[in-house]
Symmetry: C2
Subunit: 234 residues, 2 copies
DNA sequence: TGTACATCAGTGAACGCGCGTTCACTGATGTAC
DNA sequence: TGTACATCAGTGAACGCGCGTTCACTGATGTAC
C-alpha cells in the first residue's frame, strides 16, 4: 500500500515533469510539439514517454486541459479577492486576470484560444475546464442581477433562433439575469478575448504601444456597457 | 520585349499556382507548410520551388499578404454596395463580409488572425495590407461624423497615455471623428474579431449552434454602441 | 533571317537533419505467501 | 523476515517516413548582332 503509493507518486511527478518540459517547448515549436525533444530534455529515451502518455495527442490534450484550468483557477482567485458588492470591480479583476495570465503564458494562451492545431481534434474532456472562466462572468452578472443593480441597456430583442440557446445557458449559469443582459455579457466576453488575442497575436504591433492603459480603458468602458455600473472606489 | 513578357507571364502564372497549392495545404498542415508537398502537387521537383520563392518563409509571407488583401478587397467591395448615407448598414456589411470571408477561408483567417507561426517573423510588408479592412471602418465613422449623425456615447475620458496614439490613428484615417468615438469603434472591431475567432477556433462548439443569427444580433447591437444609429430599411 | 550567346526553369542527387510509434528486452521495485 | 513472482519504468534498435536547402547539371527560351 505504502509502497504502491510511492511508485504512484513518482509516476505523478514524472508526468508533471513531462508536461512542464512540453509546455516550455510550446514556445519554440508551437502546437506541433516534438515528443523526442521532450524526451531529450528529460534525459530519457523517446519511447519512455509512452509509459506516461499513449500518444503525442494525449499529451497535447493534457496541456490544453491544464491551460484551461490554470487560467480558470487564476481568474477565480483574482476575482474572489474583490468586494462581493463591487460587481464592476469583480468584472475588471476577471479581465485583468485573463490578460495577465495570457501575457505571462502566451503559448498556452495560443494553444487554447489560437488557431486549432491541424490534425488534432480536442476531446470533450476540455469543455468543463474551458467553462471555468466564463462561468465566473456569469456569476458576477447573476449577483448583480439579484442585488438589483444590473442596469438594463437599450437592447434589441433577441432573434427567435438565438433565444432558446441563450436561455439554456442562462438557466445553467445565471438564471436571474435577463437574456438581453446575458447577451451583452457574452458580447463583452468576445471583446475581452478579441483584445487579448489581438495584442498577443501581434495585431497591435506598430499600432499601439500603451497597451496596459488601452486595455484598462476599453474594459472600463465595457463594464458600463454590461450594466455593471461604475466601479466603487471607497 | 514581347518574348520577355511571355516568360514573365508564365513565371507569374507559376507563382500563382504555387500559392494556390500552398493555400490548399494550409488546411492540412496549418502554418507549418511543406515545400516538398507543394512541389509534389505541382508535379515538380522540390528544388524547383526555389526558382520562385527563396525560402519557405517567403512563401508564407506571400500567402499572408495575399490573405490580408483578399479580405481587405472583399470588405471594400461589399461595403461599397451599400447606400453611402446608411452608415449602420455599411458597418454591418463590413462585419458580415469579414465573417463570411473567414468561414469560406478558415485556414487563411487562422494564418493572419490566429496564433503566430513559431519561428516565423512577419516582415513589415504586411502592415499596409493588414490595414485595409480596418481603414474601411474608419471611413464609415468619418463619413458619419461629417454628416453629423455619429451619436456620442457616455464615454469615459481617454487615459493620458492612450490619447496621443489614438490621435495619431485618428489623424491618419478619420480626422473628423472624436477620439472617444474612435475608441468605441476600435472596441467594436475587437468584438467583431473576437466573435469570428471564437466561432472559427471552436470556442462555440457545443455551446452555440445558431451562429448566423447570434452574430447578426451581436453586430446589430454593436452598431448602436458605435453610435451609428439604426439601420435604414427604406 | 540566322547565328552566337546569355538567361533561366527545372532536374536529380545529396546533406544532414527531424519525427511518432512499436517491440523485445533488462533490471529494479513492489506484492503475496 | 524471506522468498517467488508480478509489475512496470526505461532501454536501444528499428521501421518508415518526413523535411528545407544546396549544387552542378541539362536543355529550352529569349536577346543582340
Amino acid at each position: 500500500m505504502k509502497a504502491t503509493s510511492i511508485r504512484a507518486r513518482v509516476r505523478a511527478e514524472m508526468t508533471e515533469e513531462i508536461k512542464t518540459i512540453a509546455r516550455a517547448h510550446l514556445a519554440t515549436d508551437g502546437a506541433n510539439l516534438s515528443l523526442r525533444a521532450v524526451a531529450r530534455d528529460l534525459g530519457v529515451v523517446s519511447s519512455a514517454i509512452y509509459r506516461y502518455f499513449p500518444s503525442r495527442d494525449e499529451l497535447l490534450t493534457a496541456l490544453i486541459v491544464d491551460a484551461y484550468n490554470s487560467l480558470g483557477g487564476t481568474v477565480e482567485e483574482r476575482e474572489s479577492t474583490v468586494d462581493r458588492q463591487d460587481h464592476a470591480g469583480r468584472f475588471l479583476a476577471v479581465c485583468h486576470a485573463i490578460r495577465d495570465w495570457a501575457l505571462a503564458r502566451p503559448h498556452e494562451y495560443a494553444l487554447i484560444y489560437g488557431s486549432p492545431v491541424p490534425g488534432y481534434r480536442a476531446p470533450t474532456d476540455t469543455v468543463a475546464a474551458a467553462a471555468r472562466s466564463v462561468s465566473v462572468l456569469c456569476r458576477i452578472l447573476q449577483d448583480a442581477a439579484r442585488a438589483g443593480v444590473l442596469v438594463a441597456g437599450d437592447d434589441k430583442p433577441l432573434p427567435a433562433e438565438v433565444e432558446p440557446e441563450m436561455a439554456r445557458i442562462g438557466a445553467q449559469f445565471c438564471p436571474a439575469v435577463p437574456l438581453p443582459a446575458l447577451s451583452r455579457g457574452l458580447a463583452g466576453w468576445l471583446q475581452l478575448f478579441g483584445a487579448v488575442s489581438f495584442e498577443l497575436f501581434g495585431q497591435f504591433d506598430n499600432v499601439f504601444d500603451q497597451r496596459d492603459a488601452f486595455f484598462a480603458h476599453q474594459m472600463g468602458q465595457l463594464t458600463a456597457y454590461l450594466g455593471l455600473g461604475r466601479r466603487r472606489t471607497g
